[in-house]
Amino acid sequence: MRHQQIKNALVRAAGDEPDAGAVSAAAIEVWLRIAARLIPVIGAQGVDVLFRRALVLTSRSFVWLAAVNNDEDADALPESLRRCLASQEMALAAEAGAALLSRFTDLLASLIGEALTERLLEPVWTVPTP
């Protein structure tokens, strides 16, 4: 359910004629929307730590994601990730983006439960794409 919501959000954000650039930008956009909902609740540090963990776990399936420098500053991390995604083919970038965000929300749910995760992220899925 949540994984599907992530995919839907990514598709909407990528626009009608997606390419690798649009797909990677969409991944970052959705990610920032998720982070914006979570930072007030669990703090920027909490979000950052979970995201880095998700990145490490996802790079086991998408080895090239290891190119994202995990030591990067929290502010610089999204841009580093976007560049890495954009360097791949569109389908692969889309798949990796969705896998990363799914992994992140799964991690969150494993810590604070499905119900609360759903409650906190609800607005992310309902925000219309500009």
């Binding site: 930072i39 609740v41 119900a115 609360l116 409650r119």
Partner: protein
């Protein structure tokens, strides 16, 4: 005449807290919740927040270097009060740890003010205040006047018409800290560890405008959250009144044994407490069970508080059935960290639920073991409270007490509980003709002329059967009676005799006093008029 301001009181949602606060949380008050790590501060704050927060009365939970929010959410949702439906509807979390780290405490104050302006929360929780204090004092480069910061925080929060809770870690120098002066309420939580038991305690150190219940109150953290035990003892102000009323309209409860009722001078009055003391195996529990079973027979529910036996061995089969049929409530506990308040609370809840008139505590020895070691010093005092609370409710309480098999002295209880009970029955083993026999006597019955005989009794299938007065021996309570010449065994105090069945026949059949007894029959008759054998099913027995 000017109207005084009426302070709205909020029900905290924490069982027992409103009672010890002296009636809920004052609206718009600034409260501190302090205590060492693990003492239950965050749980208390969350429980209050989830109970009070509504869409009309939204709550804001601000974390500044407290427990990491992720962990807090993870663990707090284990409690049943955690309702995730309320999150982002009536409860918002705000983690300002990053703001604090990057820009310092003044920035945090700015953010809090912005939040207050933006969302006007009615309830604000700040976790944690002591961390703020420490960090501000140690921040390099930025000199912060702690007094002004905490004062600002306090004034900011209370001025915004928000009921506020600051959660802090330690209270070492609390009396010196300005925030303790500004605060309207101060709740201190602690865990006391003694030997291998741990007891949680809460104290209302300050609550402006309310008569908080003084002293430390024990609490327990259960899957439902915090539960404070102190409320039952809090209401003992009315004890004497209730009891006096009880005396005016006294109801005598039958013990389930007509002989025993007669020995007591007419059963046990409601609201009275009785101690049954005796060595192991003397039949204390059976006597107690009969007391409860008789209550059920007369339509009166009872409660049994048991400590030492496993439930299956608890009582006779008949007793077991009564418990199963919910005619008798059972509180069986084997934990070793109880407080008396907790037992009183559970007991009162059970009494109210079952509308019970009779309570049995079997036994005080087990009770003392079940109470956490740190409370044992106060056991006697607490027992007094317990008896007072029960008697205030018009409940008759029967407590059993194990007597050491020591025959050289005459003792009734190891707790000095003898003085605080209204009635005492002592059971003993005696050795006669190379046989162990059981005897019992009524030692005390407050405000009544009771039987002073030492009576032999058996325990059979039908329960306790009280037989004759043991004659022809002296020194029965020493356990090793010595034969006495028959002439000396004549009862010289007919008033203290126990009715016809306890007759004056001497053990060896010689009845030198027969003639004399014929002469005192009117006295016996009169005595029976004064203390008629109770017949509980026939209704109330006048004792005036």
């Amino acid at each position: 005449m000017k109207n005084k301001i009426a302070i709205n009181s909020l029900a905290s949602g924490v069982p027992g807290l409103d009672e010890i606060l002296g009636g809920g949380l004052p609206e718009y008050s600034l409260n501190l919740i302090v205590g060492p790590p693990g003492s239950g501060k965050t749980t208390l704050a969350h429980q209050i927040m989830f109970a009070l927060a509504t869409p009309e009365r939204p709550a804001l939970f601000i974390s500044i270097l407290g427990e990491p929010s992720l962990k807090m959410l993870r663990y707090q949702q284990q409690f049943s009060f955690f309702d995730d439906e309320k999150i982002n509807r009536s409860i918002r979390f705000l983690d300002l740890s990053s703001d604090f780290e990057s820009a310092g405490l003044n920035q945090v104050l700015v953010r809090i003010r912005q939040e207050l302006v933006a969302s006007s929360p009615a309830l604000v929780f700040v976790d944690s205040f002591r961390a703020v204090n420490w960090a501000a004092q140690n921040q390099s480069g930025e000199v912060i006047d702690m007094q002004s910061v905490t004062q600002k925080l306090g004034i900011l929060l209370s001025g915004w018409q928000a009921t506020t809770f600051l959660i802090g870690k330690e209270i070492d120098e609390y009396s010196l800290h300005p925030i303790f002066t500004i605060a309207d309420g101060l709740l201190s939580l602690e865990q006391s560890v003694y030997r291998n038991s741990m007891v949680r305690k809460i104290q209302v150190m300050k609550m402006r405008g309310q008569a908080a219940l003084p002293g430390m109150h024990t609490f327990r953290i259960t899957p439902e959250g915090i539960k404070i035990f102190g409320a039952a003892l809090a209401s003992d102000g009315g004890i004497r009144v209730a009891r006096d009323n009880g005396r005016r309209d006294q109801v005598n409860l039958s013990m389930g044994n007509p002989e025993l009722d007669t020995m007591l001078g007419g059963g046990l009055p409601a609201g009275f407490s009785m101690l049954v003391a005796g060595p192991s195996g003397s039949g204390k529990s059976i006597l107690a069970s009969e007391f409860l079973a008789e209550g059920v027979r007369c339509g009166e529910a009872g409660v049994m508080v048991a400590f030492e036996q496993t439930p299956s061995q608890l009582h006779s089969l008949a007793m077991d059935e009564l418990v199963r049929a919910e005619k008798i409530g059972l509180i069986n506990t084997r934990t070793l960290d109880l407080s008396i308040e907790e037992i009183v609370q559970r007991l009162i809840e059970m009494i109210d639920k079952m509308k019970a008139r009779r309570v049995v505590i079997d036994s005080l020895s087990g009770f003392e073991l079940a109470v956490a070691p740190c409370f044992r010093e106060d056991f006697r005092e607490s027992l007094f409270h317990l008896v007072a609370v029960l008697s205030g409710r018009g409940v008759a309480v029967l407590m059993t007490s194990e007597l050491e098999d020591r025959y050289t002295d005459l003792r009734f209880s190891p707790y000095g509980s003898a003085f605080l009970t209204d009635a005492i029955i002592v059971q003993r083993y005696i050795e006669i003709d190379s046989r162990l026999k059981r005897v019992m006597a009524v030692i005390k019955m407050r405000g009544r002329n009771h039987c002073n005989e030492i009576r032999e009794y058996d325990i059979g299938d039908g329960g306790i059967h009280i037989g004759e007065r043991v004659l022809g021996y002296a020194g029965l309570f020493s356990g090793r009676p010595t034969p006495q010449p028959p002439a000396a065994t004549v009862d010289e105090q007919p008033l203290a005799r126990c009715g016809p069945s306890g007759g004056p026949t001497l053990r060896n059949g010689v009845t030198p006093a027969d003639a004399m007894w014929a002469g005192v029959t009117p006295t016996v008759a009169k005595w029976h008029r004064i203390y008629p054998t109770p017949n509980c099913c026939a209704g109330r027995t006048s004792n005036s």
